[in-house]
Symmetry: C2
Subunit: 471 residues, 2 copies
């Protein structure tokens, strides 16, 4: 007897499927203030793993962590004209504190280029102080008209890097290093997401940047999600905040800066990139627990075996959870673990004990096999590697299948209804981009023909545009 | 020739010494908004280690991490009368967002009992949902009249735990578990701080709590610093937010809740508990790097040996930094490493190479010894353990020496000028506490005679009061 679906099927209504997953897998709830969210334990455990993996890569790229204040004087934002224009509509403002009206209102940081600019200008004196490579993990606030949990929330968690360099080339090279060795490697290597690298068009650039690099990914419904961006800021912020250094030759020179960020939006991307009608599908490298062991019923011999397997897998470095809610029916428990996307499920009942085997079920393929209990500790680690590989390949295949090369704007419109269209940017142009926007389509990024990240010297007109619907 | 002191001597002006250390060791700067701080890389690295160690203990105590919104509707705070009264004077208020005035002003969280209360009430249905054990790492804002970096800042970083239980005994036992197995063990075992455990007086209790447990420590100048607190909240918040559960017997019952927190204030405590006139003194278990290897000058043979030692120590699990700023004079570099409190310094020059030995200098005792280079990898790990032990013992000795048992209020006043006075609470009482306040003295906590944490059933009148000046 088939169980009724717990979730709205993706094909029927993808956004509703996403909301259902958030709720039924106990990932997040709406907060009381408009557009805010409560991140529940299971989703937060995913975020903690994301943080650890991104943080390790950021440190390997030489940046050091710091913490800067939540509140920024309004006057700071006004020092960089494009920046304040871009962020003004989204700001939350503190006007009263300590029982009094403030002399100058404070902005709740939407991003921290300005306050980093002010402090870094104090810390940088000579050329030996460069590059100055900083990063912070923090919450930021951008008031959202149409909030959507994890994807666009009024408050979100992120890391924001801020660096200063002696030359434009140094700044440019560092922004690329972060983009490729931190973001791209993390998103593909850990999250198993198929990522398009590219440069944003002038219209889509970060407010105050001279160049914005982006990681774009295709979700299950063929729409794009921007997952991380790295900005060359030229000398815009350095000039606004007098950030300069005494060079070897005795000349005082203005710095070149970058900033780069990735956020809890990646949790939403992970859900929508791999999830299916039964819920989350987590790649083993990011899963809070990679294996759940499900005793069919609570019998001493069964529970002893379950604990023995858990210990053996734990010794192999596998993250294991034992399902001890045996007061609930097996079907209900299985549904819950599928919802949570645990990569591997091991079911064990009295009959399995007799045959000395356990049933192993993959979440991604639903493939079942009976495996001798004594070989689990040697089988499972390899199987987890294979699952990671297969989820990666499956996401890449979907992205490739639904990305179509076209050679005019009308074809791009048609393709972008279900996936990504690629065509020369000079066939789109600023006017074409504006007309696409009327159909809720955007140029996600500009790429080289082989799909690689443009070099700083590449002219937009020599690049291909990726057109898609987007979250 | 003696170098001039970099810091104001502690004996001359302890608060100025503290400010000097923050500045010269590059730990923190003032932020642009009143009372906020910028935590610089070295201090943030200390905080990251604190977070990791506290987080590991919190998880071992069964709590799960979550993230709740920064903004709380003002009406939430008003639901618990003592709570809103306690926090109102310190609140920062967002009145405008997204270009409009908000219908209901939002409070920037000073602490999150209310919003946790609201959500936990939704999540708790039956007795199987209890205990519900949650924790978050977050920033909070409390407008400070007299801010002091790390000790009292308008914004600070902390963890706040919020738990719900079926019975008063369960709640009480869990608050004690956190207080002892998380806070006390971390502060003594990792930070090497000598901690007094106790119960707050009614006057000093958290706003809305029925009981507050505290960890108090003596700083280098004999003043007390509160380092972590754990609160039994009775049913105050559970009633205000309708947090109840269906019990086994079919009755609906109100939950009992706790909350508990520790913050970046611990960084200030670490500085002031162990620092001396040359700067920080970091216990090896919390030091971002435990050993700095200082080449006397930049010669190929010296640098090769330095790198070899660094690798050998790293292989032993020792956190090592190599000083490569050989363009600076040795004296200046040594001063900088002393300021930063690195537990062990290894100096190596051409003459040391000839003798096959290196000079090992302990930061805590300034003790120097020549050690054969080939034995460093086996010597250093043990020496770090000894240093941790010695710093712990030294802090404990100072606390014991400067804690005096007295039997009247006047003697308490005299003793508390330089340290801690202990006397029966029934010799102080509510009136005595008020009169001590006139001399800027406070009852830090109430303890059992043997210095242990009072049991819930202990009457205040049977306990000893610890009187001190406090930060």
């Amino acid at each position: 007897m088939a169980r009724p679906p717990v979730l709205t099927p993706q094909a029927e209504n993808f956004p509703q499927w996403y909301q259902d997953v958030l709720d039924k897998a106990e990932l997040a709830s709406n907060g009381p203030a408009r557009g805010t969210m409560v991140i529940r334990p299971y989703a937060y455990a995913i975020w903690e793993r994301m943080q650890a993996q991104v943080d390790r890569r950021i440190k390997a790229a030489g940046a050091e962590n710091v913490y800067f204040p939540l509140f920024i004087p309004n006057s700071y934002l006004e020092r960089e004209a494009e920046h304040v224009e871009g962020f003004s509509p989204e700001l939350a403002i503190v006007t009263h504190a300590g029982g009094k009206e403030l002399a100058e209102p404070l902005v709740v940081r939407p991003t921290s280029e300005t306050v980093f600019g002010e402090m870094m200008a104090n810390w940088i004196q000579g050329h030996r102080d460069l590059p100055l490579l900083l990063n912070q993990w923090a919450n930021v606030v951008r008031w959202e008209l149409r909030p959507r949990t994890f994807l666009r929330t009024s408050e979100f968690l992120w890391q924001e890097g801020h660096t200063a360099h002696a030359t434009r080339d140094d700044a440019s090279a560092y922004a690329r290093l972060i983009h490729e060795s931190v973001y791209h490697e993390f998103l593909t290597g850990e999250l198993a997401i198929s990522v398009l690298l590219g440069r944003k068009t002038a219209k889509e650039r970060f407010a105050g940047a001279t160049d914005t690099l982006t990681c774009e990914a295709m979700m299950g419904d063929g729409k794009a999600l921007q997952l991380a961006t790295s900005h060359e800021l030229g000398q815009n912020f350095a000039e606004a905040f007098d950030m300069n250094y005494l060079d070897v030759d005795g000349e005082r020179r203005t710095c070149w800066t970058t900033s780069w960020g990735s956020s809890t939006r990646m949790v939403g991307g992970l859900i929508m990139a791999h999830g299916d009608d039964r819920g989350l599908v987590l790649p083993p490298r990011i899963a809070p627990f990679q294996v759940v062991i499900v005793p069919v019923r609570d019998q001493p011999e069964v529970m002893e075996t379950v604990d023995r397997i858990a210990t053996a897998l734990g010794d192999q470095g596998v993250r294991v959870r034992v399902d001890r809610d045996t007061h609930l029916g097996l079907g209900r428990r299985v549904t819950a673990w599928e919802l949570k996307g645990v990569p591997l499920r091991i079911e064990i009942g009295p009959r399995d004990l007799e045959s000395g085997s356990a049933v192993l079920i993959r979440r991604d393929t639903a493939g079942k096999s009976a495996v001798p209990i004594d070989t689990l500790a040697s089988t499972v680690p390899d199987l987890l590697v294979r699952i990671q590989h297969d989820i990666t390949a499956s996401a890449r295949r979907r992205t490739e299948e639904r990305t179509v090369e076209v050679d005019d704007l009308d074809s791009a419109r048609a393709v972008a209804r279900h996936g990504f269209a690629r065509l020369p940017w000079n066939l789109v142009g600023v006017d074409g981009e504006a007309s696409l926007a009327e159909d809720a389509l955007t140029v996600r990024c500009l790429q080289r023909e082989d799909g690689s990240l443009p070099r700083p010297e590449d002219d937009d007109d020599d690049l291909l545009a990726v057109v898609a619907r987007a979250y």
